[in-house]
């Protein structure tokens, strides 16, 4: 077992955050992510960190803004309705170019919805969520090991690009236990000369702010930010490819949906159907190149989602609608079974005449 422990996905996020040097956590309880807060409540006081259960999600995200301004690694976590509440603060973080890690362990919506897993916050996450022109880097773990890995990567990306990274998980990955190893290599945290840490009388004041009343200045700020986003899209887009080399049918699926899809791909491959899987790991930036490349062999793409069809739009954009893209979905907290995905593959195979 080589140093592996069984842990819930939510707990793995919390432990990884602590290993990444995060010493400040602010949150408000909500199923199915409360284990993150519970873990932090237990650990932070023992390691000189801060755990604070705020009076609301909005208070928690603004505490994140405050700590991030001082250059410290900081995070918050919630589930779908709580993320909507935090969205104002996330927009402010973007406007002030502050790094932070935000976890959304999604549940069914809209409204209070339910507490079972969902992926229906894809649009909210990948388009920013709050007001204004901005993006978050959005990472989609598909295992407990990745909950840990992407949390650490998330802090690194947030610091490197001075923006929010969101871990877009779901109730299943958050609640399930799998073996996880914390044997990671850590990059040193970059210098943060912009942080408001006191001038010691040696430099000009640093100002962290998202208010720019001059439209000329605000326009430049937005354009510069989008130049940074373009660099990120070029450098950081990432996906896992599974049996795609000769695939005539491609499944697009992330997170828990990708695991169900993998079972179905294996079953269909056993029958000689040429099917493969592209699993986006970064949802923003969307791994467009992987989808462009699959067009060399692909005749149809099936987007498997726990939503009414959100990522499917990015798949269509990435492939410029050159092949049909169909949807295989369950919603409201339901998860498609491998049999349902397999049936979608069979139907696609008939359509393309394989």
């Amino acid at each position: 077992m080589a140093g592996k422990v069984l842990m819930k996905g939510n707990e793995a996020i919390a432990e990884a955050a602590i290993l990444a040097g995060c010493r400040h956590y602010f949150g408000y309880p909500i199923t199915p992510q409360t284990e993150i807060a519970a873990y932090m409540a237990k650990r932070m006081p023992k390691i000189g960190g801060t755990f604070l259960q705020a009076e609301s999600e909005i208070a928690a995200i603004n505490m994140v803004y405050g700590v991030s301004s001082t250059g410290k690694r900081v995070m918050t976590s919630s589930s779908s309705p709580g993320i909507s509440l935090k969205s104002e603060g996330i927009s402010y973080l973007a406007g002030a170019d502050l790094p932070a890690l935000v976890v959304n362990c999604q549940r069914g919506g809209p409204g209070l919805g339910g507490i079972q897993p969902s992926q229906s916050d894809y649009f909210q996450a990948t388009r920013g969520g709050g007001h204004g022109d901005y993006h978050m880097i959005v990472l989609a773990p598909a295992s407990v090991q990745e909950m840990a890995e992407l949390t650490i990567r998330g802090f690194e990306l947030a610091d490197e690009y001075r923006m929010t990274t969101m871990i877009l998980a779901d109730g299943t990955i958050g609640q399930m236990m799998e073996p996880v190893s914390f044997d990671f290599e850590f990059k040193a945290m970059p210098e943060k000369p912009w942080a408001t840490t006191g001038t010691q009388g040696k430099r000009e004041h640093n100002v962290v702010n998202s208010l720019y009343l001059s439209p000329e200045v605000l326009e430049i700020k937005n354009i510069e930010r989008y130049e940074k986003y373009a660099q990120i899209a070029e450098k950081e887009a990432l996906a896992e490819e599974y049996m795609t080399e000769d695939a005539e049918i491609i499944i697009a699926a992330f997170g828990i949906a990708s695991r169900v899809a993998k079972n179905a791909v294996n079953a269909a491959r056993a029958e000689g159907i040429k099917v493969g899987l592209i699993r986006p790991i970064t949802l923003w930036p969307f791994p467009e190149k992987y989808f462009k490349n699959c067009l060399a062999t692909a005749k149809e793409i099936i987007s498997v989602e726990l939503s009414m069809g959100q990522m499917i739009e990015d798949v269509r954009l990435a492939t410029e609608c050159k092949v049909p893209v169909s949807l295989c979905k369950r919603v409201g907290g339901m998860i498609p079974s491998p049999e349902e995905v397999y049936a979608a593959i069979k139907a696609a195979a008939e359509r393309i005449g394989e």
């Binding site: 507490i115 299943t172 236990m177 073996p179 695991r259």
Partner: protein, 178 residues
Amino acid sequence: MTREYLFAGFGGQGLLFSGKVLAYKGLIEEKNVSWLPSYGPEMRGGTANCSVIISDEPVGAPIISHPDVLVAMNLPSLDKFEAAVKPGGTILVDSSLIERKVARDDVSVYYVPATKIAGENGFSTLANMILMGKLLDVFGEYDVEMVHQALGKCVSARHADLLELNLKAMEIGRDYAE
């Protein structure tokens, strides 16, 4: 080889704990494992269940539609999941809580009055571990050393006394013959 287990019953019967012990045993044996609980309000006294997959291959979906093994600790769970068990699969029934017999004839069934036995031995909360002992024995996988190690991972050091009780409960289950 892949084996999928579903533990189902009332909240509070220790089904999630059983699953964790089994998953740890798999991990110690260097298998791939996943453990997925039902969560939410149903855990507070309603039906609770827990899916465990132990496999030589990487685990795909952690959700189980058709378990190889069902451990049923109340009637609603047996009613709900009996039909889902794979043909040739195994069902363990706590026969002190479930009066009816399993209707299917294409699965192996073991009836253990686990809750009654647990009460008689003075640890009424360990019926789950009696069933676990039986479960491991059914598959010829009751390895004392492994069981001890797996339990050690699941019982915190300050409850070390409970470790012995859990072990005893598992041994009673292992040795139980109908």
